[in-house]
Structure formats: C-alpha cells, structure tokens
C-alpha cells in the first residue's frame, strides 16, 4: 500500500507541476464543449422560402399566409413578380445560390380546383443537398399544410391534438449532444492521461527503474490509475458545470448515480490508455493514438451523432465494444430524463465488463513487457 501511495503522490506532483498536462486536462475539455456545443446542432431556426404564386387568389394567399405566420419561415418573393416563368427561374437561381431552402409553387388553377373539387395540388421544391436539413424542412412543411387543411375543412373543430414533449421540450440539439460530448471527452482525457504518463516514463528511462524495483506490475498500474481517476472525475465535474451554466443543460437525475457509472467508465478509459502506452514508443504517439482510438469511435459509432440502428451491422457490432456507447445512454438518461441506477444495470454491467477486459489486457501486456523488455 505504501508503494502504491508513493506512485500516487508522485503522479500528483507530475500533474500539478506540468502546465501542459494541466491545460490538456482542464482547459481543453471546456474549450471543446464550448466549440462543439455550438457547432453540433441539428436545430433549424430559420427556413428561407421563395413563393411563386401563379394562382394569385384568396386561397393561395391564405396558404402563403399560413407559411408566413410560422416563426421559422422567412418568405421571399422573387424579382420579376410572384408569378410567371421568370419568377420561377429567379427562385431556382436563389435555391442554387443557397439563399433559400425551398420554393413554394402554387399552380394557376389552385383556387378553381379547391372550389370545384375540394382539393388541389401545389408544389414544394426542397434543397436536399443537406439531407438532415431537408428532412426538417419537409417536416415543417407537412405540419403547416396539415394545419392549413384542417382550417379549410374545419377539422380543427372535431378534435384538438395536445402534444407534450418530454425531457427536452424545446427539442434543443445541444441538450442531446453536449452530454454525449462530455462522455466522449472523458474517455479521451482518461486514455490520454495514462498513456502519456507511461510513455513519458519510457521516454525518460525512469520506467526501467520502476521495472527493476520491488514494485509489482499491478502496483504500478493502480498507482498510475488512481490519481487520474480523480483528475478525470474533476474534469467531468468541470465540463458538466460548464455545460449547465453556459448551455443551460438540465441535470434532472442523481449526480451520485452519474458518479458511480463515471468511475467505471473512467477506469475503462484509463485501462485503454495503459494498453496504448504499451504499444506507443513516445508521448506524441501515445497522445495521437489515444485521441484517434477514443474520439473517432465515440463520435461516430457510439450513438452520439448517428443512431446505432442506422449503422451497418459490422459497425453496430463494433459499437457494442465501445465504452462510450453505454456511458452515453447513462449520462443522457441521468441528465435529461432523471433516470435512476436501476435503469442502467445492463449498461453498468457492460462498463464493468469492458473495463475488466481492457484492464486485464493492459496488465498482461505491461507485465509481459516488464519481463522481456527486448
């Protein structure tokens, strides 16, 4: 125990006396949350649409008004009049120049067909170069058209739909993405801390002195891990507090539950770091490997951005071996839904399992390396 304590104390000295480590640990995550918190957003705050109304009737004006009354839509009426082929060409030009996201085209017989047949067609041309945005635009259109139809047919008087949105009432992307980013950053920081720490010992040659000392391999690993569990937890607290106060992310669940799972998650990350350190010859290589091996899978395969169900089967299988996949569900659940410990027994078990596998692999590799350095 005294020997483990000696390594822990030494590691704390290294951390506190190395401004570069301190920056990596405490400043970088906050900057990352700040930048990614703003850049990662699927929210659509404005839809610019051009209107080409060949009908120029009361009904067509009512339809146009229903778009105009929506706070998201900003309508443009192309130069050369709102009707005629020159207007349509002008609108298409605006679409190409990305000044608008859609064109609303109302045919010349729109009003007559509505009056005679009780139904009519009209067209919407959507810029789908960004498929996510196009989907959202499509959904907004559908909503407005349904409301317009209800008004025309007085269906609104028959029933009224009350929708209650749980957990993220304003459907803010940041509420969804930022907890995920905290998970990804925690994994990266954890892996980076231990991998760089051990790679540094190798670079300076001090690892040789530890290897030939009476220290057992597990003592070195525990001694190197404990300080960084604390540092990573502190980092988690810092990024969570920043997200809470800067982005207004709600924390609805128990922090204790989050803490319990965070410790398991961080151990998995630190173990991955030790494993990386046994393969990386230098600090730079260790840092780069830790970043690539944690950030890419965490962002692309854990469900942080893309739903796991939408991945191909091979990538789906890989996603189950990524600790972030499980901690992501936990942190989102606890923060946004106020979920409890009992809701994450499977995720907790998987974190324990992944942590144990990584720790075992790291310990074996480390011990083997110690026994036969060359």
């Amino acid at each position: 125990m005294a020997r483990i304590k000696a390594i822990i104390v030494k590691e704390f000295f290294h951390i506190l006396r190395d401004p570069r480590s301190l920056t990596i640990v405490f400043i970088t995550p906050v900057i990352m949350i700040f930048i990614l918190g703003y850049s990662f957003s699927f929210d659509l705050n404005r839809i610019d649409a051009a209107v080409v109304d060949f009908s120029q009737s009361d009904f067509s004006r009512q339809l146009v008004n229903s778009f105009a009354n929506n706070r998201i839509f900003v309508l443009h009426f192309p130069a050369g009049g709102t009707s005629g082929k020159s207007a349509l060409r002008a609108a298409e030009e605006m679409l190409r120049k990305e000044k608008i996201k859609e064109i609303i085209v109302i045919p010349v017989d729109f009003s007559r067909r509505l009056t005679v047949h009780g139904q009519s067609d009209f067209g919407i041309i959507i810029d789908a170069s960004n498929s996510n945005t196009a989907n959202l635009v499509f959904q907004y259109n559908e909503m407005i058209v349904l409301e317009f139809m209800a008004e025309m047919k007085k269906v609104g008087q028959l029933f009224k739909l009350h929708t209650k949105i749980y957990f993220n009432p304003e459907a803010k992307s940041s509420f969804f993405f930022i907890p995920g980013q905290i998970a990804a950053i925690l994994l990266m920081i954890s892996a980076m801390l231990t991998s760089v720490s051990i790679a540094k010992e190798r670079e300076t040659g001090s690892i040789a002195l530890l290897f030939i000392s009476p220290l057992k391999s597990y003592e070195i690993i525990i001694g190197k891990t404990i300080p960084y569990i604390m540092v990573a937890l502190l980092d988690g607290v810092l990024t969570l507090a920043f997200s809470r106060f800067w982005f207004g992310i709600p924390i609805r669940g128990s922090l204790l539950v989050l803490l319990i799972f965070a410790v398991l998650y961080i151990i998995a990350g630190l173990s991955l770091g030790i494993l990386i350190s046994t393969l990386a010859p230098t600090q730079k290589a260790a840092m780069l490997a830790a970043q690539i091996l944690t950030m890419l899978p965490s962002y692309l395969l854990s469900g942080l951005i893309f739903p796991i169900d939408s991945l191909n089967p091979v990538l789906q299988a890989i996603s189950y071996a990524i600790p972030a996949t499980y901690f992501l569900r936990i942190i989102r659940g606890v923060i946004l839904k106020g979920s409890e410990l009992k809701h994450f027994l499977f995720e907790g078990l998987m974190l324990v399992l992944l942590g144990a596998v990584l720790l075992l692999a790291a310990s074996r590799k480390f011990s083997r390396q110690r026994k036969a350095v060359q």
Binding site: A2, R3, K5, A6, I7, V9, K10, F13, H14, R17, D18, T204, G205, S206, A208, L209, L210, F211, I212, S213, P214, L215, K371, A372, V373, Q374
Partner: protein, 296 residues
C-alpha cells in the same frame, strides 16, 4: 559474486554482446570499458533483466539465476547511463519516492537520506528540482537514490559520462568509500584513465571481451615492452622507419614530440632507431587497449 558465461545478445542483425564470459568479484570495483557500442550497457541491462539474453548463463553467488532476475535486482542498485530520475521532483522528493518503493523503513530513512546527502554534497540542494541540477549533481542524486536500499551490488552504467572533471573526482571518491564499506561495484566507462581505478578491468570490443583481469595482472602480464623515444631528425621519417620493422606495424604512435612503440620480441630495436633519448615505460591501460585492439 556474479559470473556471466557465454552470454550473447543480438538486436536484429547486430551482435551487441558476443559470447561474453566475465566475473564480478565481491567487494571489489570492476570496470568494464570499451568504445561506444562495445556492449557495456547491454551487459548491465541483461544483468538486471531489462534486456533478455539470447544465450548463456548468469550466476549469482555460484547459482544459476535461470531467468529469475529478481534474485539480482533484490541485491543490487542499478544506475542507467541516462539520468532517469524525475526532473520535476526535488532532490528530496526523488529520494522519498525511491525510499518508498524500495520499502526503506521510515525510522531509518531520514538518517540515511541525511547521510547520503552529506556524503554526496547534495544537502544544500535538497529542495532543488532534479531538472535544475548540473550533470554531476544529477549523477550523485541517481547514485543516492540507488544507495537508499543499501544494495550489496552497485551497477553503474557510465556514471561519469558528460560530467565535469571535479564532479568525476568526487564521484570516484564516493565509489572508493562504498568499496570500503564492503560493497561490490561494477561500472562502465569509455574513459580508460578512469578504468585504471578499478580493481578488475574488462576491456570490450564489438561485444567481445578483449582482456579481463585484475589491474595489477593486466599490466604485469602485458606481453610487450613499451618504449618512448625522442627521435633524432624528422619525427615522421623516424616513425616510418620504426613502422618498417617486422612485428611493429600499427603499434607505433606519436605523443607530442615523442614516439611510443610496443615491441613484443626479444630483439632490442632501440639501437637501430635514430634517437636523442630512449626510455622504457610501464604500460597504461590505454597501451593495453591499443595493443589488443590493434592485434585483433
């Protein structure tokens, strides 16, 4: 105390240590010397298990360790060639850390630390960070760190390389003291004048042992006579003349205005060389090294 028998080690195509057999005697200073790449560091690393030998055996007190390097590391302190303590820790913090991992009892530690710091002249610098120490002080700190566990065997890999002359003298004084305390010391150095301070010397070349024996025996059994000549006439012409004698090729070299040459045979060549002055000298380790190196 330690014996290596037919030990070899290769790194890829390079044979770093080639069939080396040598002995490290208890209570003595053994110095392994040779040029860079001769295999000095590899031998030390194999002794402490940092490098796995390819072939051969290592014996500790007559028993084959059979890969159980803990038997050696438990009785030895190893100081690597490169300063490997923590530069961001102070002298005292480094010593505390190594005392902790070596499990030096708390009650003994303070007294031991004080004694080592006094002995190495590091006491005024105990709060200074290791990274801010001079090369000589760093080596003294590294030595202090390994002495905390009071090892019987002290392995020092080029402890004086890159160290200023005064610190080297101080360092050797400490080593002499350690010998007086009964410690067994084995160290490496590329400097032959330093190697002369050993009780036993092993000279290496390209991973092979050229010579090994006690310093006294090495000089006593030196198989040639060594002459120093103040030449009459042009020194280069005299050099050429000496070089032409059969059996002397490559064993002649200039030292300032003198020529030194080694002569193995019984014939006295001195009278055949134009000289103002001729003196027979006792060989230094440098002469021994040159003699064997050029004969190989």
């Amino acid at each position: 105390m330690i014996r290596l028998e037919h030990v070899s080690k290769s790194f890829a195509d390079i044979r770093a240590v080639n069939d080396v057999s040598l002995a490290i005697k208890k209570g003595a200073i053994t110095i392994i010397s040779g040029a860079d790449g001769a295999g000095k560091s590899t031998i030390f690393k194999m002794l402490v298990g940092l490098v796995k030998k390819d072939t051969g055996d290592i014996f500790l007190d007559g028993e084959n360790i059979n890969g159980d390097y803990i038997r050696i590391t438990s009785v030895c302190g190893y100081m690597p060639e490169k300063f490997s303590l923590y530069v961001d820790l102070s002298v005292e913090e480094n010593l505390n850390f190594f005392a902790d991992i070596q499990q030096v009892p708390r009650r003994r530690r303070e007294e031991l630390k004080q004694r080592l710091l006094e002995k190495t002249g590091m006491l005024p610098f105990k709060k200074r960070r290791a990274g801010a120490l001079s090369g000589g002080m760093k080596q003294k700190l590294a030595l202090s760190a390994i002495l905390l566990s009071s090892p019987d065997l002290i392995i020092l890999d080029e402890p004086t390389t890159g160290v200023d002359p005064l610190s080297r003298i101080e360092f050797f004084a400490i080593i002499e003291d350690l010998k007086k305390e009964g410690k067994t010391i084995v160290m490496s150095t590329p400097y032959l004048d330093e190697a002369e301070k050993g009780d036993f010397v092993v000279l290496l070349k390209n991973g092979r042992v050229m010579v090994q024996d006690s310093m006294i025996m090495i000089k006593k059994t030196f198989p040639a006579r060594l002459f120093r000549i103040l030449p009459r006439g042009n020194i280069f012409e005299v050099m050429q003349q000496i070089n032409a004698f059969p059996g002397l090729g490559g064993q002649v070299y200039m030292r300032g205005k003198f020529i030194r040459y080694m002569q193995s045979g019984p014939e006295n060549l001195a009278q055949q060389i134009p000289h103002l002055e001729i003196t027979e000298e006792k060989p230094t380790l440098e002469d021994v090294y040159i003699y064997h190196e050029r004969r190989q």
